[in-house]
């Protein structure tokens, strides 16, 4: 029996790229730095969540109806009458937010240790593309439950495209397939959500990992471990990904799943942040909710959009700012002029700017979930105060810091006093 199986294996190996060879390249013989810390869990976890979303999504699709008159009811049908349907739905809704949590932490890791710097620019660019695709995927998916927030959130976002000069209104019409968000919009968003964007996402993830495994992983010291090789030709500071990081990531995955399950089973709404309360009201095109807020993972950019004052009655400058706020990420590898990668050997300038960036990102995220009068109004009047809402001005300051973090980066990273980088990784 064993010999026959081996013969069958050999038959396949002779007719396609060797599986054993691929396993060696990407796991057993892929040498990763031995000093990965907590921050290095989130890449593998992102892939885990992607898997969770695809599998739960397939089963949801079997019961969901992409029809404006049936969609809301079909979600309730899943929640009540489909055996285990409530579990599938909560897995998928918790997974959506969890995806952004792990991806944001994964990206922050890149900022901490300079993982985007030469020679990993392409790894970073594929990563940013994954992030943008994920935003689209989340946006399309959020329309599907067809609640009030689904509907009006989509209405607001599609209208943003309508602000583009000249082609705007036609562009928005083309996206919606109708003059308002309607059944036609729901149908196309369903198609984009369940097949088009997941395909792109999978392709980009493969590219991201292939590029990474070609150049090798960065590490918390920002040292190229390939520079110091032992007599066997393997990096002295590297260990095979399998079994060392497979068992370590397994441990991280179990811990992550415990947190995931705690949220999913005990607080699936997370106080209205993961599942918004208003989304339990069916979409009503004639009734605009008093307060429209996107889900938490979009709110930093929504805040930037609202912070920028309109020009000639057009919101286009805000839309531009929001677009630039995401697109600027592509240029990060060339904006950073520091000779060192890791925050451990950077100077006070970069550390301060990164800390400021994190703080303003969180503040912008919070403000985006609230009305602009959440912090009250200024008690005085002045000619330059186009709005007296304190939160709007706070968002403007934060937006400025957000952009300065990137635009001033070539200047402050080049001037920063850096520490000497050791030859070998520290533990």
């Amino acid at each position: 029996m064993g010999a026959q199986l081996r013969a069958l294996w050999g038959w396949f190996d002779a007719r396609m790229p060797s599986v054993a060879e691929q396993w060696k390249i990407h796991a057993a013989n892929y040498y990763a730095p031995k000093n990965f810390n907590f921050w290095y869990f989130f890449g593998a976890l992102s892939m885990l969540v992607l898997g969770i979303q695809i599998v739960s999504g397939i089963f949801l699709t079997m019961n969901y109806k992409p029809d404006a008159s049936l969609a809301f009811g079909s979600v309730e049908y899943i929640m009540r009458d489909v055996p285990g349907g409530w579990l599938l739905r909560y897995i998928h809704s918790t997974g959506a937010s969890a995806f952004f949590v792990v991806v944001y932490l994964h990206m922050f890791r890149g900022l901490l240790y300079g993982s985007y710097k030469q020679p990993r620019e392409l790894v970073w660019i594929f990563g940013v593309l994954i992030y943008l695709t994920l935003m689209g995927e989340a946006f399309f998916g959020y329309l599907l439950p067809w609640g009030q927030m689904s509907y009006w959130g989509a209405q607001v976002i599609v209208n943003l495209f309508g602000t583009v000069p000249l082609i705007g209104p036609d562009l928005a019409l083309w996206i919606r397939g109708d003059y308002v968000v309607s059944d036609a919009t729901l149908n196309r968003f369903f198609a984009l959500h369940v097949i088009a964007f997941p395909l792109v996402l999978l392709g980009l993830v493969v590219a991201h990992i292939l590029a990474l495994h070609d150049v090798g992983s960065n590490n918390p010291d920002g040292i190229e471990i390939k520079k110091t090789k032992g007599p066997d030709g393997h990096p002295l500071d590297g260990i095979p990904f399998h079994p060392y990081y497979t068992v370590k990531d397994l441990m991280g995955a179990v811990l992550f799943l415990a947190i995931f399950c705690f949220i999913m089973f005990f607080v699936p709404e997370v106080g209205g942040y993961f599942l918004e309360y208003n989304n339990f009201i069916p979409a009503d095109p004639l009734k605009t909710p008093e307060h429209i807020a996107p889900v938490w993972y979009f709110t930093p950019f929504y805040s930037i959009l609202r912070a920028v004052p309109p020009l000639f009655n057009s919101q286009f400058p805000g839309v531009m700012a929001m677009g630039i706020a995401t697109m600027i990420l592509f240029f990060l590898p060339w904006l950073d002029r520091s000779p060192v990668k890791s925050i451990r050997y950077r100077g006070v300038l970069y550390k301060s700017w990164l800390a400021a960036f994190v703080v303003v990102f969180l503040i912008l995220g919070y403000l985006g979930t609230e009305n602009t009068n959440v912090w009250g109004q200024f008690g005085f009047d002045a000619f330059f105060l186009d709005t007296k809402d304190i939160a709007t001005w706070a968002a403007r300051v934060c937006t400025l810091v957000y952009f300065l973090f990137f635009f001033l980066m070539p200047w402050y990273t080049a001037r920063d006093k850096v520490l000497p980088v050791p030859e070998r990784v520290t533990s």
Binding site: K34, Y77, L87, V254, C261, F265, T369
Partner: protein, 240 residues
């Protein structure tokens, strides 16, 4: 740095707690109290289902609150013939619009959009107001289209709102009795508690099994984590 981040993370929660409007009472409902759920179902079919529906809830699903199919058929099914039918009232959307100006909303997930505290307070804060079409108004939901459906139980009440002149400080709400209802204040509060309990139940009928499975899953993951940790430690002992 770390401390500052924590403050920045928690600040939104503090701001979230603040807000205007009539202060909400905490709903005393208990999803494990089957008697309360059954009594809530009774109030629901007698007082709510005439105008509202709960179209995503099937009568059969009420076996989840400890009722047999025969009990459901005999006591709760006024407008349906088959046990598998959804809970729909006799009133159509068109009629609702004609009579109240708006169609009474479906109540299947009302507890999920409004929250239990809101419902518990709302159903206890109707008052007589000659300025509205229905003659009723509500402290939590000003100018609500719905008249007080439970007024025969609670009785009629009046409300005087005193706003402080300087615009600062708390708004004072002064309730008065116009006519007595069939129930005392305590009895009425219990009726509303039962009704809210039922609405929370139908909002998510699987909530109880969700939590039960959650406990088991977390226990299993806890065991798995210990094993995964030991496995990792075993493999990593030769990495220096």
């Amino acid at each position: 740095m770390r401390k500052f981040l924590l403050v920045a993370l928690l600040a939104p929660l503090a701001a979230f707690a603040a807000g205007g409007g009539y202060p909400l009472d905490r709903s005393p409902h208990d999803p494990r109290d089957l008697v309360s759920l059954q009594s809530g179902a009774h109030v629901f079919v007698n007082y709510c289902l005439g105008c509202h529906s709960a179209q995503y809830v099937r009568y059969q699903g009420l076996t989840g609150i400890g009722l047999s199919e025969a009990q459901i058929r005999d006591n709760l099914m006024f407008t349906a013939d088959k046990i598998g039918e959804p809970m729909k009232g006799p009133m159509t959307i068109k009629e609702g619009k004609q009579w109240f100006g708006v169609a009474p909303p479906d109540l299947s997930v009302i507890a999920r959009s409004r929250g239990a505290d809101w419902l518990y307070t709302y159903l206890r804060t109707f008052y007589r107001d000659p300025k509205t079409v229905s003659g009723w108004n509500n402290a939590v939901f000003p100018n609500v289209a719905m008249p007080h459906a439970l007024w025969m139980l609670q009785g009629e009440r009046g409300l005087q709102v005193e706003v402080p002149k300087d615009g600062h400080g708390h708004v004072a709400y002064k309730w008065s009795e116009v006519s007595k209802g069939a129930q005392s204040v305590t009895e009425y509060d219990a009726t509303v508690r039962d009704l809210v309990n039922f609405l929370v139940y139908v909002g998510e009928p699987h909530a109880a099994s969700r939590k039960a499975i959650g406990v088991l899953t977390l226990f299993a993951l806890g065991v798995l984590f210990v094993l995964a940790y030991l496995l990792k430690k075993e493999y990593w002992k030769d990495v220096h």
